[in-house]
């Protein structure tokens, strides 16, 4: 497809088309949707069972052991926090930069963020030895006058994640208000009328409401922007503040943030391609939008690759035998498959995007986005497993045993995330109706033909 053809199609987009198209996604679910939801719930049940089994018999049913005491759970935690990253980046940062390509994708990205943080937040609980005491990490006044240790990066984590979740959720909700109002006006069932009536907070689309709304949205975008940087920086400090060779590096915060955006954008592509196909959104989410996202991937893939090289360089340059050994171990040691898998997925495969036709090839992009997701999981695996496997004391070196419990919980997390996404697309507009309309040509006024006021 040439760019002129796309431009033509975009010109053809009307407010009515957008409204009808997006709201049609909320129509009565098909059998396929129920199957998807049931699958997700089944996975959640598997994950829950595994977790309960672990709580009853002890952490030992997971594959982690001395000396690799953090494993799949923390890998998953970082992975999901990373996924959660791009939502706020697309909605807030790109909003501030007035990047127009964000409009049709940001809603889905934001939903993904909120649900990914909800998934990520489970893992610290699954991971700790006594989850029933996890609330001790919160600072709260108590009769024992005990406070958490504010020096510990894990406490910072609690703050970073909970702040990020709160702000993302609020920002997400604010963006939804005008669209919920549209859905309210168009919906016929009582349930939906009540649901949207309450959640649209009395939105009428008046000029004064818009004035306050845009100011508020801008404010939240400004508030959310530093969080994009902070949350993954703090997560990276979970590692960088430790003195473990392979963890203790100043490059970690930018490296983690870039990696998070990288994986987040890939996840948006993974989610939006099937959605676009199923609901026939090709005219709203166009190839140009994908190409813009591909450029983000190319940028962040480059940063991530640079960070990998820097890690090796630092290890060599430091002349620190422990670091050097660690970075010899990664490509040539027990976990070398993970290392080379990561290098392929994150550094080599995305290079294909330098070729324009591939950037515009939806099938290729879908596969590539999955490859990147795997690659980013492997990156966290590499950081956590290989570093812990070879620390300072050679007598205490060890390895990892695979466990079905960890696999079950990992799969359950995908189910949990998928369950919320599946529910979301049927209950709320997954494309920002109002913002898509902002970038298309406003209709000429034909009061006798169309009365467009309610279409906001």
């Amino acid at each position: 497809m040439s760019s002129t053809a796309v431009a033509k199609k975009e010109e053809e987009l009307t407010y009515k088309y957008v409204t009808d198209k997006v709201l049609s996604m909320l129509s009565a679910p098909t059998g396929g949707w129920y199957v998807l939801l049931a699958t997700c719930i089944a996975l959640v049940i598997i994950g829950k069972c595994c977790w309960f089994y672990q709580m009853i018999y002890g952490m030992g049913v997971a594959g982690i052991a001395h000396p690799i005491m953090w494993g799949v759970y923390i890998t998953n935690f970082v992975f999901w926090v990373g996924i959660a990253h791009s939502g706020t980046l697309i909605s807030a940062v790109l909003y501030l930069f007035r990047a127009k390509f964000r409009q049709p994708i940001y809603r889905l990205a934001e939903a993904m963020t909120v649900f990914a943080v909800m998934t990520a937040g489970l893992f610290p609980l699954i991971h700790v030895g006594r989850p029933w005491f996890a609330y001790w990490l919160m600072p709260y006044p108590n009769e024992r006058t005990l406070w958490p240790n504010f020096k510990s990066p894990l406490v910072w984590d609690v703050f970073a994640i909970s702040t990020y979740f709160t702000v993302s959720a609020v920002f997400f909700f604010i963006g939804l208000i005008p669209d919920i109002a549209t859905a309210r006006d168009k919906s016929k069932s009582l349930f939906r009328k009540v649901l949207y009536g309450i959640t649209s907070l009395g939105w009428s689309g008046s000029n004064s409401q818009f004035k306050h709304y845009t100011a508020g949205y801008l404010l939240f975008a400004g508030l959310a922007t530093p969080l994009v940087i902070s949350v993954h920086s703090v997560v990276s400090w979970d590692f960088a503040m430790g003195i473990v060779p392979g963890w203790h590096a100043t490059i970690f915060p930018p490296y983690f943030v870039a990696g998070a955006i990288f994986s987040g954008v890939a996840m948006v592509i993974t989610l939006i391609i099937p959605l676009r196909k199923v609901f026939g959104l090709e005219r709203i989410v166009t190839i140009d939008h994908f190409e813009a996202m591909c450029k983000l991937i190319m940028l962040t893939s480059g940063i991530v690759s640079y960070a990998y090289i820097t890690e090796f360089y630092t290890a060599w340059f430091s002349n620190n035998s422990y670091e050097r050994f660690q970075f010899w171990f990664r490509p040539f040691g027990d976990f070398k498959l993970a290392f080379w898998g990561m290098t392929f997925c994150n550094c080599i495969a995305p290079l294909a995007l330098w070729y324009r036709p591939l950037r515009r090839n939806i099938k290729f992009l879908f596969v590539l986005s999955l490859v990147i997701n795997v690659g980013m999981w492997l990156e966290r695996f590499n950081i956590i497993f290989t570093s812990l496997a070879r620390e300072f004391d050679p007598a205490a070196w060890g390895s990892y045993n695979f466990s079905w419990i960890e696999a079950g919980i990992t799969v359950g997390a995908f189910g949990w995330f998928g369950m919320w996404m599946t529910l979301f697309i049927k209950f709320f507009p997954s494309i920002a109706i109002m913002e898509v309309k902002e970038v298309i040509t406003p209709p000429k006024r034909h009061p006798e033909k169309h009365h467009q006021v309610e279409a906001h």
Partner: protein, 991 residues
């Protein structure tokens, strides 16, 4: 020293021991195994005491430990023990500080005797074998009366009677002798670790039957042919102490070890020489020739010298080099050192020594030539073992020829550790009545018709005579855990029932007392009752006998016949020699059901739970095997499945296997899943006294069965990281260069950016002298016992989840021929700048004001960040909730919290002991004295390598040692962790 309240049983006889006192104290029920346990225990036939009064002796109050002195009977060394009891149950065994053999220390095996006492698979009551409906035998519980009646009626019956027992000394041996003579019973003693051939060789060369007393402390040069004197040979705790003393001297002892497989003892050598199995005798012969050449032994008399010369004449350097595989250069350096030294000690024994008794004779001659006899070798001044292979083989023949009327077995397992060829098992099965007095199941006991379970040594009266001048007493430290009787009482009671009493005046306790009162009389004590009580409190009566045995070497005949390996039928071309050896983990295979010992990593291979087959990589390559494979080791006599452990430090074409017990002993032994390695041996040498462990050849093939090899150590090499450092000393005793990373020779405190915390009064610290540490792992077991550390089992160990707070890291820094082994005890370093502390989100781990890195189990959420960030990897996480099957739970130390699943734990420097000492000091209005607090590891260390104390006090031992030239801190130069544990570099000669 710790103030121990040593009491004797008699001192505890109480006035108000009313029944209702017991019932009121219902908490005691948890202690009970059927009955409430009395503090002062005794056989139930005497039923004297029960829980003591509260008003009387404060030491009898709940919460206060009572110590009993007794004697360890786990091996024949006769170490004195002090057993700590709480609320009437034994919780820990330590060495008796007053005892001349072990001076307060105790080895791993000795400490694990507690798990023999509380073995959940112990025989709990008299059992009789019956057949079920399917015709399969099973054991049914019977009463003591019935059981004794059967024994007594058999005693009255006609036919040959036999007793086969382990080595016993003192009163118990005497009463066994009396019993045997009264009922006309043939007695055999059988114990594979008793070294009776060594005693016999002493008779041949020195004219005195008995194991000589070796004085390791007085030697400048030690040469050992396979004698693992730091592990299981003769008296390991005493020898280890003297060896370490000699190593700590300004001019340390130089130690050479010749053997086909690196043992823990060999790993401590300055030069380890890998010999081909059976070649040691050639080296010894060549050594004699060289000594004769250098005009040694001029004063020995012409008769003896002519015999010696005839040995020397058949010696040949090229033969010694070619048969042993040791280079001429190395042999010359050993001989040079021996010739030049003023005093030396040459020993032979263990598996390598068992191949040829010529070797034992030659070694004695070498000692004569070097003038060591009377200095470092005192003939006949240790025990006189009774164990005799030729006699037990004779008995076995008789048992097979004609069914015995009565066969009694006690404290031995000949079915396990006699070669199959002897046919002992069939003889046992033929016997009309086979009675076992064993307290634990084993291969022999399983075959018994009736079992009259004896008390363990911790529940028994007795005495031991480990060497002249040392009479050591045994007393029960608690009431019998199960419905068992002292073996002495079983003998007395059954003799009474048979109508021919061997002792009229009461129980075996009275028998022992009578012996001692008699002994007191002989010592012409005025108050013999007082002498008895004093001896009980002290743990025995110890003197230092002067004078030495007369040396008559008339019985010695030089032999020249070369020994060969027995090649049973069907041995293939690839002749592989079987080299079974005894280890601290299982001794002679008796202790397979002791979880502490099963989970204790072998000091050299670091393998836990099962036994294994050590094979040289070249041999393994030829056989198409690699580490972790399972092999079937077999010959005409039997077959054993073993996992392969490849190592450079075993001779080629040799398969080295630790001796172990079989699954018959109970659940833990079963979990280890070892086969019977003795079943591969041949019994062709029936004229000798000891079993030749090194004698047969085997076929080695890949097995279809899979056995897991569980190793607890990650890397064998420290990659030049300088964790375990060695200071090399050159021949002329001047200090050489450091072995590893010498850039931080003496520990310099790095300049600190931040203000440092300074503890006010106490700053607890530890010092570990690597020159003294032999790697014996006694500290590891002490730590398990003191701190209620969970035993996790084979499967969980394989996952890397063992809970040991203290591990001994073993590193090889040498080449294929010369291992240069280091043993590095590693526990929580209690860093002043601890990486684990800032990362804990809830302050579950924090720094105390006394410089300790404390761990609050109740506050731990289990994020495990501390474990990740610990540079020494000493934090252990409770992956599961582990249990202590009854009655093993009775051993749990009430002073230490038992941890739940999901929390982190680690070494606390035995904070319970620190607090106890501080309490005592506070009561007495003073500060804790130096040496008053001893963590369990430091207390038991046979070589006193571990020192603990207050670093704030400049006069404390730990401060002084911490300022020594050899002092360094592990990883501190790189990480600035500021550990409270200082290590002193090992010292080895540059050979």
């Amino acid at each position: 020293m710790k103030k121990k309240k040593s009491l004797n049983i008699i001192g505890n006889t109480q006035e108000n021991t009313s029944e209702d006192l017991v019932s009121r104290r219902s908490f005691l029920k948890v202690l009970g195994a059927g009955t409430a346990l009395g503090l002062s225990a005794c056989a139930d036939s005497t039923k004297q005491k029960i829980f003591p009064d509260l008003e009387g002796n404060s030491a009898k109050n709940p919460g206060v430990a009572v110590w009993y002195n007794s004697t360890c009977r786990e091996c024949e060394a006769g170490c004195g023990i002090s057993v700590r009891t709480r609320e009437g149950r034994a919780v820990k065994i330590e060495g008796n500080a007053n005892h001349p053999v072990n001076k307060g220390s105790l080895c791993a095996t000795g400490q694990a005797a507690l798990q023999g006492l509380y073995d959940p698979d112990r025989i709990r009551e008299p059992l009789q074998k019956e057949l079920n409906k399917k015709g399969q035998p099973f054991f049914k519980a019977i009463s003591w009366d019935k059981a004794l009646a059967q024994v007594s009626s058999a005693l009255k019956g006609k036919g040959a009677n036999y007793i086969i027992r382990g080595e016993e000394t003192g009163s118990l041996e005497k009463i066994f002798d009396q019993f045997s003579s009264k009922f006309n019973i043939t007695q055999n003693v059988w114990d594979i670790t008793s070294e009776s051939e060594l005693a016999e060789s002493s008779k041949r060369v020195f004219g005195t039957y008995g194991i000589p007393h070796y004085k390791f402390g007085k030697a400048e040069v030690i040469l050992s042919f396979g004698a693992n004197f730091l592990e299981t040979w003769v008296s390991p705790v005493e020898f280890a102490r003297e060896f370490a003393e000699a190593k700590r001297k300004e001019h340390p002892v130089k130690f050479f070890h010749v053997e086909p497989r690196l043992s823990m003892t060999g790993s401590n050598a300055d030069l380890w020489l890998k010999s081909k199995p059976g070649s040691e005798v050639e080296i010894a012969k060549y050594l004699i020739a060289e000594l004769v050449k250098s005009k040694k032994g001029q004063n020995l008399g012409s008769d003896l010298m002519s015999k010696i010369s005839s040995i020397a004449s058949s010696a040949d350097l090229s033969k010694a080099v070619s048969t042993s595989g040791i280079s001429q250069e190395k042999l010359t350096s050993v001989i040079d050192s021996l010739v030049k030294s003023k005093s030396s000690l040459v020993i032979a024994g263990g598996t390598a020594g068992s191949f040829s008794n010529d070797l034992l004779d030659y070694v004695n001659i070498i000692n004569l030539l070097l003038g060591n006899v009377g200095k470092t070798v005192l003939p006949g001044l240790l025990r006189k073992p009774k164990s005799n292979l030729s006699e037990i083989l004779k008995t076995s023949k008789e048992l097979n020829a004609k069914a015995a009327n009565l066969l009694i077995t006690y404290n031995c397992d000949p079915v396990l550790n006699l070669p199959v060829e002897a046919g002992f098992e069939y003889g046992v099965k033929k016997s009309k009545l086979h009675v076992s007095f064993s307290s634990h199941f084993n291969e022999t006991t399983r075959l018994a018709d009736i079992i009259l379970p004896a008390n363990t040594s911790l529940e028994s009266w007795g005495d031991a005579n480990p060497r002249p001048g040392v009479k050591s007493l045994m007393q029960p430290v608690m009431q019998a855990v199960f419905n068992t009787k002292e073996v002495g009482d079983i003998l007395i009671d059954s003799s009474k029932k048979a109508g021919q009493s061997i002792f009229e005046n009461g129980s075996f306790q009275d028998y022992v007392k009578a012996e001692w009162l008699d002994y007191g009389k002989r010592l012409s004590r005025t108050n013999i009752e007082k002498f008895w009580k004093e001896s009980l409190e002290k743990g025995g009566y110890f003197t230092n006998p002067k004078g030495q045995a007369k040396i008559e070497s008339s019985g010695f005949k030089p032999k020249s016949k070369n020994k060969k390996f027995i090649s049973p039928k069907g041995i293939e071309k690839d002749k592989i020699v079987l080299y079974p050896y005894t280890s601290i983990r299982d001794f002679s295979g008796k202790y397979a059901n002791r979880p502490w010992l099963q989970e204790l990593p072998d000091p050299v291979t670091k393998i836990v739970w099962s036994s294994w087959a050590e094979i040289h990589p070249k041999t393994a390559n030829r056989l198409g095997l690699s580490k972790g494979d399972t092999v079937s080791v077999s010959n005409f006599y039997g077959e054993v499945q073993l996992p392969v452990y490849t190592t450079n430090y075993v001779s080629e074409n040799t398969i080295a296997v630790p001796v172990s017990g079989t699954g018959e002993q109970g659940r833990y032994a079963n979990q280890a899943g070892n086969g019977n390695i003795f079943s591969l041996l041949a019994s062709a040498y029936s004229s000798e006294k000891s079993l030749r462990l090194l004698s047969t050849e085997v076929n080695v093939k890949r097995s279809r069965i899979s056995r897991k090899l569980v190793q607890t150590q990650g890397s064998d090499s420290q990659l030049g990281r300088g964790l375990a450092e060695t200071e090399l000393i050159s021949e002329d005793h001047s200090k050489g260069h450091d072995d590893h990373s010498s850039h931080h020779g003496k520990h310099h405190e790095p300049e600190q950016m931040y203000k440092q915390r300074t503890p006010a009064i106490y700053d607890w610290g530890m010092n570990i002298d690597l020159a003294s540490c032999t790697g014996c792992s006694a500290c590891v077991v002490a730590c398990y016992a003191e701190n209620n550390i969970s035993v996790v089992g084979k499967e969980v160990c394989d996952q890397g989840r063992e809970m040991s707070w203290l591990r001994i890291e073993r590193y090889y820094d040498g080449d294929e021929e010369d291992p240069k082994t280091s043993h590095l005890p590693m526990m929580c370093q209690h860093c002043d700048n601890a990486p684990c502390e800032p990362v804990c989100p809830v302050y579950a781990t924090y720094h105390t004001e006394e410089g300790l890195n404390a761990m609050v189990y109740n506050r731990c959420v289990g994020t495990r960040y501390c474990g990740n960030n610990c540079s020494y990897k000493v934090r252990r996480f409770n992956w599961f909730e582990f249990d202590w099957p009854e009655p093993l739970n009775l051993q749990i130390n009430p002073d230490v919290t038992k941890r739940v699943a999901g929390v982190m734990e680690k070494c606390t420097f035995c904070i319970q002991r620190i607090n106890e000492a501080k309490d005592t000091a506070k009561d007495e209005g003073r500060l804790v004295r130096d040496g008053e607090v001893q963590p369990a590891c430091a207390q038991t260390c046979p070589t006193k390598a571990i020192t603990f104390g207050n670093r704030k006090d400049p006069d404390s031992n730990v401060s002084k040692l911490g300022a020594a030239d050899r002092a360094y801190k592990v990883l501190d130069h790189h990480l600035n962790t500021q550990p409270s544990v200082t290590y002193l570099k090992d010292r080895r000669y540059k050979v």
